[in-house]
C-alpha cells in the first residue's frame, strides 16, 4: 500500500546558502528502518524535480531515528540573492512529507498502519 510520509515522520528544514537541509524524524522508533529503506537520496531528488537542481546527499542518525537530507542548488541562489517566498527553505520539510512510499501490506499491518 502507499503511505504518505506525514503518517510516519515529522520534519524541520532550513538553509545554508543555496542548499536546503531537511531533517526527517520517525514518529516512532519502529518506523525508522522503513524511512531508511524507502526515502533514499535518489527518491528525494526525484520528489524535488525542478526545485533541486544539484545533488541530494543523505545522512543517517539512527540515534535520533532521523535522516538528514542536503538538497544542493535549491534556493534560487540562497540568502539575499533569492527571489523565492521561501528563500530559507523553511517549507521544504512539509514538501518532503507529501512523499508517498510503498509499504508491503503485511509490514503495514504489523506497524499498525492500516487504512
Amino acid at each position: 500500500m502507499k503511505i504518505q510520509l506525514t503518517k510516519l515522520a515529522h520534519a524541520r528544514s532550513g538553509d545554508k546558502g543555496d542548499t536546503a537541509n531537511v531533517g526527517l524524524i520517525a514518529l516512532r522508533e519502529d518506523y525508522y528502518p522503513l524511512l531508511v529503506r524507502e526515502v533514499t537520496a535518489a527518491r528525494v531528488k526525484e520528489h524535488f524535480a525542478g526545485v533541486c537542481r544539484g545533488a541530494v546527499e543523505r545522512f543517517e542518525l539512527a540515534n535520533l531515528g532521523a535522516l538528514n537530507f542536503l538538497l544542493h542548488e535549491s534556493l534560487g541562489g540562497g540568502g539575499t540573492l533569492s527571489l523565492m517566498t521561501d528563500a530559507q527553505g523553511k517549507t521544504f520539510s512539509t514538501a518532503l512529507l507529501r512523499m508517498l512510499i510503498d509499504v508491503p501490506d503485511e509490514e503495514a499491518r504489523v506497524l499498525g498502519l492500516g487504512q
Binding site: 515529522h10 537541509n21 543517517e60 535520533l64 532521523a66 538528514n68 517566498t85
Partner: protein, 455 residues
C-alpha cells in the same frame, strides 16, 4: 565548582520576541543569558546600516533590553553573552556602558568586548599572500568579487568570550562569534574545561545549537503534534542546565507555555544540519550521531553520550558583497478563475518588460495561495480558489531596470485581468542585494582581542 549552571536563551535572531530575555531573567533562576542576534544575512544588513551611520551596525534592540534587565542581572549576578555587536561591537559596548551609567550602575559591573573578527582591512594582504578565500559553496576565488566586498568577518569561537568571563565581565559583547560559542563559553568558564577536552566541548556546543534559535527548541515552529502544544502566546524560551561532566538537561521556566520534549529537541537538532558526523565550529568537531536523549520529566530532556573530535586548523569567514538589485511586486486576484487571472497578468507583465527592453538576471513568478511553497508538489491549482496572490520578483545588476519594473505593477490594475486588488502598499521598493560569501582561513592568521572594562 558549581554542580550545575543554568544558561537561558533569550533571542534566536535579531527581530525575535523582545520580552523573551526579560522573561528569562525574571521568570526563575538562571546564571547566564545568551542572546544570538546574527544570522548569515544579518551581518550584511548591519553593514548597510553602518555605511549610513558610522555609530550604527549592531543590534539596536540590545541597548533598550539592557536598560530593562541590567539592574536584575547585577542584583542576581546573571551574566550575559551576546553577539549583538554585529559589525560594530565597540559602538555597541559604548551604548551599553552609557545605559549602565544612566541606571546608576557605573562601577558596579564590567563589560567585555571581543573584537578581531573584522578582517576587511586585511583582505588584500591575504590575497597577495595566496590566501584565496575561495567560496566554500562554489569554489570561486574571492578576487572575482573583490571590488564589491562590503564586509569580511571571521567566526570566532568560545575562547575569547571565556577570556572575557575570566576577566570578570558581566556582559560580553562580540561581533561575528558562533552562535554555539555563546553557550559553550559560560560552561568552559564555570567548569574549567580544557581546550582539548573534545567530548565536553562538543557537548557544550550541541547545548548551544539546541538553544541558539530560541523557542524553536521549546515548541515554536514544532511540527510534532503542533495543535497540542500549550500556550504559545506565553512560550518559555529554552534553558540548558549544564553539569561539569558534559551532560545537560534542556528545560524552560515553570509556568510558561510551549513544550520541551524529545520531539521538540530532535526537530531543533536537525535544523540547518550538514553532515551530522562533523558539526564544525572553531572550538571542536561535534558528532551529532552520538547524542542520546532521555525523557527526564515534564518539560525536561536529558542529553548525554556526546562525542567530539579535535577542532580544525581553520576558521570560517563570512564575507558580504554587493550583488546588484532586486524588487518584488504583488497583486491579489479573486474568485472566479483567480489562478487563471494571476497567470494571465504575469504573461502581460512579462510581455511589457520585454517590450521595454529590460534585461534581468532572473524573473521569478510565484502564485501565493496556489503553489508558492510546494511548487508542482501542490498539484494543479483548483479553478475554484477563492484568491491568489501574484508575486513577481526581478534581480539584476542595473538599478534603473529594477526601478522601472517596480512601476509596471500598479498599471496592471486598470490594464489587466479583472477582480484585482491589494496594491495599497504602493510601488515595491528596490533593494540592494548584499550577498554572502563563505570561506575558510587558517587560524594562525587571526588574533581575537578581548577587552574588559569597568562600566
Amino acid at each position: 565548582m558549581k554542580e550545575k549552571i543554568r544558561i537561558a536563551s533569550g533571542q534566536g535572531f535579531w527581530g525575535d520576541m523582545l520580552d523573551a530575555p526579560v522573561q528569562q531573567v525574571r521568570g526563575g533562576q538562571i546564571d547566564y543569558l545568551m542572546l544570538d542576534y546574527l544570522a548569515e544575512v544579518t551581518m550584511s544588513i548591519m553593514q548597510k546600516q553602518r555605511a549610513r551611520d558610522p555609530r550604527a551596525g549592531y543590534a539596536r534592540d540590545f541597548v533598550p533590553l539592557m536598560r530593562e534587565i541590567l539592574p536584575d542581572c547585577v542584583a542576581k549576578n546573571i551574566r550575559v553573552t551576546a553577539n549583538a555587536g554585529g559589525v560594530n561591537p565597540v559602538g555597541c559596548a559604548e551604548a551599553v556602558r552609557d545605559v549602565a551609567r544612566s541606571l546608576g550602575l557605573g562601577g558596579r559591573l564590567r563589560i567585555g568586548t571581543v573584537t578581531g573578527d573584522d578582517i576587511m582591512g586585511r583582505l588584500d594582504e591575504f590575497l597577495s599572500r595566496g590566501i584565496e578565500l575561495r567560496n566554500m559553496d562554489t569554489g570561486e576565488p574571492l578576487s572575482q568579487v573583490r571590488d564589491a566586498i562590503q564586509s569580511a568577518n571571521v567566526y570566532l569561537g568560545a575562547w575569547p568570550m571565556v577570556e572575557a568571563l575570566n576577566g570578570g565581565a558581566q556582559v560580553v559583547i562580540t561581533g561575528r562569534a558562533t552562535d554555539t560559542g555563546l553557550t559553550l563559553a559560560p560552561v568552559i568558564h564555570e567548569f574549567g574545561w580544557r581546550a582539548d577536552d573534545w567530548d565536553r566541548l562538543s557537548a557544550g556546543t550541541i547545548a548551544g545549537h539546541i538553544i541558539e534559535c530560541g523557542a524553536q527548541a521549546s515548541g515554536g515552529n514544532c511540527q510534532y503534534d503542533w495543535q497540542s502544544i500549550p500556550d504559545l502566546a506565553n512560550v518559555g524560551f529554552p534553558i540548558v542546565e549544564a553539569a561539569p561532566d558534559g551532560t545537560f538537561v534542556v528545560t524552560k521556566h515553570e509556568g510558561t507555555g510551549g513544550i520541551v520534549s524529545i520531539p521538540s529537541i530532535k526537530e531543533q537538532l536537525v535544523y540547518e544540519m550538514g553532515d551530522p558526523h562533523e558539526y564544525i565550529t572553531p572550538d571542536c568537531v561535534a558528532d551529532f550521531t552520538s547524542i542520546r536523549l532521555v525523557d527526564a520529566g515534564r518539560n525536561r530532556v536529558r542529553v548525554h553520550g556526546i562525542k567530539g573530535r579535535p577542532a580544525t586548523e581553520f576558521l570560517k569567514v563570512s564575507i558580504s558583497y554587493s550583488a546588484g538589485y532586486k524588487a518584488v511586486g504583488t497583486l491579489v486576484y479573486s474568485w472566479p478563475d483567480a489562478y487563471a487571472k494571476a497567470r494571465a497578468a504575469d504573461g502581460i507583465l512579462r510581455a511589457r518588460l520585454e517590450r521595454l527592453g529590460l534585461r534581468f538576471d532572473q524573473i521569478l513568478t510565484e502564485f501565493v495561495g496556489a503553489n508558492a511553497t510546494h511548487g508542482r508538489l501542490a498539484g494543479e491549482p483548483s479553478a475554484d480558489l477563492p484568491e491568489v496572490q501574484l508575486r513577481v520578483g526581478v534581480r539584476g545588476a542595473d538599478r534603473a531596470s529594477v526601478e522601472r519594473f517596480t512601476k509596471e505593477i500598479a498599471p496592471l490594475i486598470l490594464t489587466g485581468p479583472p477582480g484585482v486588488t491589494g496594491f495599497a502598499g504602493g510601488r515595491p521598493k528596490v533593494e540592494e542585494i548584499v550577498a554572502y560569501w563563505p570561506a575558510l582561513i587558517p587560524k594562525t592568521e587571526i588574533e581575537a582581542r578581548v577587552e574588559v572594562t569597568e562600566a
